[in-house]
Amino acid sequence: MVLIQVGTKVVDVPPGSSLPQVCTEHPLPIVFGCRAGRCGSCLVQVLSGATNLCTPNLREARTLDVLDAEPDWRLACQCIAFGDVRLRYV
């Protein structure tokens, strides 16, 4: 199991869980919109465990780029967690 923390909330999920799925099953404070990496509503800052997330796909990288996102920001809807991560909703 891996730990996913968003703000003060922590949940325990199997490795390889997608963040949208985790947020559907647990009340984590992330607002989702398109869930396709195109709207940016689920922007999060990765406070720790960045290497435990899948690398950004082309769609996510493009949206992050056009938003002038900070290097440690990700779109939660495109993330799969393979290890512990600590996030902050931006």
Binding site: V31, G33, C39, L58, R62
Partner: protein
């Protein structure tokens, strides 16, 4: 441009809104302020009987209803537009009766003296007498620490925690404040777009690629600010209040109209005109044309002019083949596409009745589907304005 908008406040007034009208017209403003408190008691009989008596008393002190109208239309045009604001709030409260009731529908009118007053002012100013962005967002605000009539700066307008609605619909409530600031933020943070947008057009005419790229980068920066404000505020909009304003505020005689809409915000009109967004979906086109009916005629003229000039922009960027200019233009288009996509999903959740914060109300599924289809088409129309796939700069 300078006659319509400023670099500090855009299309918002350059001085803090001043509702101190001469003589008995000033009492219309007082009625609106007090009326909100009576209205928030949630008793439609009490509210209508109170407002009816107040209107009768006011008219009696004036002489005749015609005297009140004469005083109003003697005001300069900008002051007439300001006087429309409390009258529209009162009209909404009269129609709805109580904030606890489901959204009112069907035609209705205030007591004759005020109905005649608002109708006459509507004809004189060219503003439809219903809730819209001009009324809610552009003219009815106050800022902590800034007296009525004082000069306003961009810094004041973007300090959202100091911004409040001048009039309230339902006493004073956090959800109404969230609703208000969600719209206000778009226009206040979007102010720089007018100046930089006009400069971009001038650069196209003068073939100045370096300055044109700078103008585009600044448009991108302003749009990014608006994007992040909207992203944070929309999830807090209370769908119950939104629905009441949309429906109840939308009746004009026997006609049902959409009310508060992004198509009435000069910020969105400017971007659509500047980049020549096509509006290929008939419903989206109709909605934009309808929204323009709420905007003063002199503003409509401005956006028509921008539309006529801006066909030069995209061909110029493409033919110039300047990498910095192309990249800056492309990033504007892509960010506008992302912004519209964000708006589509977040506002769609409000329209459907359940916001992301978990509040719910009776659903309006067809309204939701129409909105999603129209804005979906608009997202595609916007994305189609791009010139090339940018080289990814992120690792």
């Amino acid at each position: 441009m300078g006659l319509l908008a400023s670099t500090q406040t855009g299309f918002m007034p350059s001085r803090s809104p001043d509702y101190r009208f001469p003589g008995l017209l000033g009492e219309v403003v007082t009625l609106c302020k007090v009326g909100s408190t009576v209205y928030s008691r949630e008793d439609e009989h009490e509210f209508r009987s109170w407002l009816g008596a107040e209107i009768d008393a006011l008219t009696a002190r004036t002489g005749t209803p015609a005297d009140l109208i004469q005083q109003a239309i003697s005001l300069p045009l900008p002051e007439q537009e300001m006087l429309m604001v409390p009258l529209i709030y009162l009209n909404h409260m009269w129609r709805q009766g109580s904030p606890a009731l489901t959204a009112a529908s069907g035609p209705s009118a205030m007591p004759a003296a005020f109905d005649a007053l608002v109708t006459t002012l509507a004809e004189s100013t060219g503003i439809l007498p219903r809730f819209n962005q001009l009324i809610m967002t552009m003219r009815a605000w106050c800022i902590d620490g800034l007296p009525c009539g004082e000069h306003v700066s961009y810094r004041d307008l973007t300090d959202l925690n100091r911004v409040w609605p001048y009039f309230w619909l339902n006493g004073v409530s956090q959800s109404e404040l969230d609703f208000y600031r969600a719209f206000f933020a778009v226009e206040s943070w979007g102010v720089p777009v007018y100046g930089w947008g006009c400069l971009a057009l001038e650069c196209a005419a003068a073939d100045d690629a370096d300055l044109g790229a700078l103008a585009m980068r600044c448009i991108h920066a302003a749009l990014r600010n608006v994007y992040f404000c909207v992203r944070h505020l929309i999830p807090y909009v209370n769908p119950v209040e939104f629905r009441k304003i949309q429906l109840t505020g939308g009746w004009i005689n026997d006609e049902l109209n959409g009310a508060a809409s992004g198509y009435q915000l000069p910020f969105m009109l400017m971007l659509d005109a500047l980049f020549q967004v096509e509006f290929s979906h008939p419903g989206a086109y109709e909605a934009r044309e309808h929204g323009l009916r709420f905007v003063p005629k002199r503003w409509q003229e401005f956006f028509r002019t921008i539309r006529e000039l801006s066909p030069a922009l995209r061909p110029w960027v493409r033919e110039r083949q300047c990498p910095e200019l192309t990249d800056a233009y492309q990033r504007c288009i892509e960010l506008l596409t992302v912004y519209r996509t964000l708006h589509r999903y977040l506002a769609g959740q409000v329209l459907r009745g359940a916001t992301t914060t978990g509040r719910a109300f009776t659903s309006s599924e067809s309204n939701y589907r129409t909105f999603m289809n129209e804005i979906g088409a608009l997202v595609k129309d916007t994305a189609a304005l791009g010139i090339q796939d940018r080289i990814e700069r992120r690792p």
